[in-house]
């Protein structure tokens, strides 16, 4: 049941043999006092400790090479080959290194190795020499140690014989135990066979016999253990066999005990108590022997898994399963988890509203914004609102809010709004960001395409309260292009409340902006716009007030006629604002108000007019007057 060594295990084995060979050479070549000798032994001892931490390491020796589980190790290394040869000369078939090997034991072993082989053999062999030197953690198996001298199990080397050969002997041993039991005292040949002088060899033998037990038919195995559990009159059981089965894996032992127990009318755990089992195995064994606390049925596990139905179910091609999987995979691939992460963070924060949670929330928001997860962001903003009054959390919440008010973040949000103006979460973010949100929204509005502006317009309308101050600033001091865009936006609102903002554009430094403002003021409904337009007639910029006069006429704003007349009259006949007078007259021509007649009369009847421009004005006044009279059906005064 042992697994083959992997590549690295082989490399390690080779390394340890190389170190052992070096140490052997050092012991052979240098005097005891030499530090080289100490160092070599030390290196090997350390390496062996590391390599045997999981259990003993066993090497086979085949003349001039080492074998580890059928694979040669260290082939091509003359040093390792020489070591193998030295061991072979001592009739060593196997070298076993156990955990816990000490430097003293290594030195003693190498001392034996450096001795004359014939002398070692003559004094009882290498194994006896090792035992004699008190070496417990390194052992060897000598070739042909027992064979021929004994029969039965005693005649085979339990540490090296084929497992099947050992297995074949086991029923006979059990039979012998039973037979001798009847005669008064049981003979435990297995215990005798395993009575090796050193612990490592004993352990190895017990493990191999345990493996051999498993090679037998189960009924034979059960009979052997049944026999081994029979006690002789002194109460002694077949200890050798019990020692062997205690080496089995807990599962194998549990099965065996379950099969044997009924023969004794006992519970398996009761039987287990009669065997000396290592504590760690005993614990596991106990678990395996104890009936489960719940049956499968109690655990909701079906008695019959319904294999055929399952197979049938699996064999059927379900298009809907396929489509569903594709949808789920596609969603997982394309949809950023940022929104879901934010929702989870919101849930956790509600569950545990502390500083740490709010920090996590703050970190989860930017990716959610990038992923346009606005519904989830709305949840997060609502959470901030819910905890806003908690003074302990105030710094964390403020920090999140400032993060939300980051112009770069808001720019991302506003860009989303260009494409999806209905995103409530995005609107909520802009709103929550206050004046910075409004600034960024307006900047986005100004810089986007005409189509984008159309899309953003409803958003701006919804946020008109916030954007007012920003719009004021832009229309007054923003660059002309921005100011124009905002003025047009204000016009589109068709709300008299924006008038005061538009009015501020009249103070813009750029003529085009001012002109546009006049046009917009004229087009906005309500008396306030008329008043403003009238007021504009006295604007400091001639072009602006001229335009105001023109717009009054163009749009037919009769309510502004008094202002026109007042302006016209207010300017003396010799004042030079010729162009404004002309624009007012043109507007009056369009409006044809009766109340303009007196003023026009005065202008038309000027006798002494000098200069081309003044003559032009008089002529124009006469024309306007005529048109008013024509409409009034009144004969011209003379």
């Amino acid at each position: 049941m042992e697994s083959r060594p992997g590549k690295s295990a082989q490399t390690h084995a080779e390394e340890i043999l190389r170190l052992l060979a070096s140490a052997a050479n050092a012991v052979r070549l240098y005097p005891e006092s030499s530090p080289l000798r100490e160092t070599a032994v030390e290196h090997f001892t350390e390496a062996s400790a590391a390599l045997t931490s999981q259990g003993p390491l066993r090497f086979g020796i085949d003349r001039n090479r080492f074998i580890i589980e059928d694979t040669p190790v260290g082939e091509g290394s003359p040093q390792i080959a020489a070591l193998a040869e030295a061991l072979h000369t001592l009739q060593v078939g196997q070298l076993i290194i156990a955990p816990g090997l000490t430097a003293d034991e290594v030195k003693a072993f190498l001392q034996i190795l450096s001795m004359e082989a014939r002398a070692v053999r003559a004094s009882g062999g290498a194994r006896d020499a090792l035992v004699g030197a008190g070496i417990r953690n390194l052992t060897i198996v000598e070739v042909n140690l027992r064979a021929s001298a004994e029969t039965g199990i005693m005649g085979i080397d339990l540490t090296a014989a084929p497992i099947d050969e050992i297995a074949a002997k086991l029923p006979e041993l059990a039979h012998n135990w039973l037979t001798t039991l009847k005669e008064g005292s049981g003979t435990d040949d297995l215990a005798a066979a395993m009575d090796q002088p050193d612990a490592v060899a004993r352990d190895l033998a017990a493990e191999r016999i345990s493996e051999a037990m498993l090679r037998l038919d189960e009924s034979t195995r059960v009979s052997i253990v049944t026999a081994a559990m029979q006690a002789d009159p002194s109460g002694k059981r077949m200890d050798g066999m019990l020692q062997v089965i205690s080496r089995m894996t807990p599962s194998a032992l549990a099965r065996l005990l379950k099969l044997v127990a009924p023969r004794f009318g006992q519970e398996p755990s009761e039987l287990a108590g009669k065997i000396e089992i290592p504590p760690e195995v005993a614990q596991e064994l106990q678990v395996l022997l104890t009936p489960p606390a719940q049956t499968d049925e109690q655990r909701g596990v079906p008695a019959d898994p319904g294999i055929e139905e399952m197979a049938q179910d699996m064999a059927e091609a379900h298009e809907q399963d396929s489509e569903r999987i594709e949808q789920l995979v596609s969603a997982a691939r394309k949809t950023s988890p940022a929104g879901r992460a934010l929702t989870t963070t919101v849930d956790i924060t509600r569950m545990r509203p502390n500083d740490e949670s709010f920090k996590a929330l703050g970190e989860a928001i930017p990716p959610a914004i990038r992923a346009s997860a606005f519904r989830e962001i709305e949840e997060a903003i609502a959470l901030l609102h819910d905890f806003a009054s908690d003074s302990k959390l105030a710094p964390a919440i403020t920090q999140i809010r400032s993060r939300l008010a980051d112009p770069d973040v808001l720019a991302d949000v506003c860009r989303v709004l260009v494409d999806s103006p209905e995103e409530e979460g995005a609107i909520a973010i802009v709103l929550a960001a206050g004046h910075v949100g409004a600034e960024v929204l307006m900047a986005t509005y100004v810089n986007t395409t005409e189509a984008g502006r159309v899309a953003l317009q409803p958003v701006v309308v919804r946020l008109s309260e916030s954007i007012g101050p920003v719009a004021s600033r832009i229309v007054q001091t923003g660059d002309p292009q921005a100011a124009e865009a905002v003025i047009r936006l204000l016009l589109s609102l068709q709300d008299k409340r924006v008038l005061s903002t538009v009015a501020q554009a009249l103070e813009h430094s750029d003529t085009t902006v001012r002109s546009l403002a006049v046009t917009v003021i004229a087009e906005l409904p309500g008396p306030e716009s008329t008043q403003l337009l009238s007021k504009t007639l006295s604007h400091w910029d001639p072009e602006t007030h001229r335009l105001a006069a023109r717009e009054i006429g163009r749009l037919g704003i009769r309510d502004a006629v008094p202002a026109l007349l007042k302006t016209l009259e207010g300017m003396g006949a010799y004042e030079g604002n010729h162009e404004l007078k002309k624009e007012i007259l043109k507007s009056l021509e369009i409006l044809r108000p009766a109340q303009a007649v007196p003023v026009l009369n005065r202008m038309a009847n000027h006798r002494f007019v000098i200069g081309k421009q003044r003559r032009e004005l008089r002529s124009l006044a006469r024309r306007v007057l005529a048109s008013i009279r024509a409409e009034m059906n009144v004969t011209p005064e003379r």
Partner: protein, 492 residues
Amino acid sequence: MTEINRDDDERLESPLEIAAITQPATREPSATAKRLEAARELARTLAVAQNNASLYPSTHPLVVASMDELVGAVSTILAPGCEEVMLNIYKGTLFIENHVLPEESITHRKLIEDLLARGISALTMSESFGSQDASALVSLLNKSEIRDIDSAREYLDQHGSHGVILAETTELDAAQEARTREHKAHGKESYDSGVTLMRDVETQVKLGRVFEVEPLQHLVSNLLDTLFKDPAAVLGLTAIRSHDHYTLNHSINVCILALSLGIALGLDADSLKSLGLSALLYDLGKVRIPEDILNKEGPLTADEWQIVKSHAAEGADLLKRIQLVDQMPMIVAYEHHQRHDLQGYPELAEPHEQHLFSKIVALCDAYDAMTTSRPFRREIRPDKALAVLMQGRNKAYDPSITKALIAMLGIYPMSAVVKLTDGSVAVVFRVNHDDLLRPRVKTIVGAKGQWLAEPEVVDLRLIDPETGGYAVSIDECVPAAEYGIEDVWQYL
């Protein structure tokens, strides 16, 4: 997603097979059916060509037509991107591209015997296979004087055939075994380092420290690399049992299962990495649950149950500020008990469907937890565990993902211990995706309960040439421990 490595074609765990199983389970049968039909046609045309060539001269119209048919059959089975097709004879049964051909194994007995008589156990036909290859191969089979594989190779060479490669099973087995051993060793190294890493993570979290994510990402990448090379070697690692480190092993097992399922579902590399990390960390919240409650043998009180249930939110809480590639680990930790029908926990303010990764992890968690023995709970047989998952479809588990998991694992999953109809006990070590009821097994205990010196590999799709029926079948799945089997992993 992965390159097709023809060296591995013969194996169930080959990349070609990954490609097959990366298709959703429900789509697989029709694709398999088409391929199976093409495989049958190839076997038939080869047998017919051999027969015609033995009866008529090579210029006879019937011979010419049958050669053309053979060339056509090879070209049909070579799907786009597939450069060669392999015909195998294993224990007297004919396989083409891992499709067992039970009927053809009987009806084309002569073809099988003629190949085996020359020591040929496998022949590969490449995309360059043409009429010259067809006539050389067929005439080779009819030449009684050619008695070994070397002569057969020489004959093909002399007759200008370069589109056919002959092989002995032993050659394939040896190469395959070496590769499997290497992958298994590499997988085990990753697994062990994963357990160590997870122990460190657990310790750090218990101490209230932040753990490093990079080593975990590295672990996921390693597992993925090996999964693409040899899925079976990695999936087999989930059979490693540890009585001391259930929680640590469980998280690695769930990671492996989730990655395997993710590959089967067709997730891309980035998604797989995110899924793998999520699957490693989804249960991290349990470090905040008292161990005496987690390990309690008897039923839990209502209060204890509430504490246990809190592990999902606790896990998300622990992961919320960890700088990960994405926040999926936190999401999966939070959602993995929410169930498909959203009746689980934690309760959501606004219920939303579990994320795909949460669904995957929930299934893999349930499967591994059921099939693993713990100090206070016996494991459930893999087939019964799958039945529990099937019963939970539409309730706890997503129905489609559940089926995909079973398609990937097989009805008798790898590491399941089964009793065969001949009384022997075996371990499933490879799933045959064309027949989920007939995996490849390693018999370890004979009919009389004797443990075999070396496990014996049996493909349960094999046909008994005498009866025409299956040589042996699974009688039932059995608990490993009850049959004395301790460490299933060593047999995989």
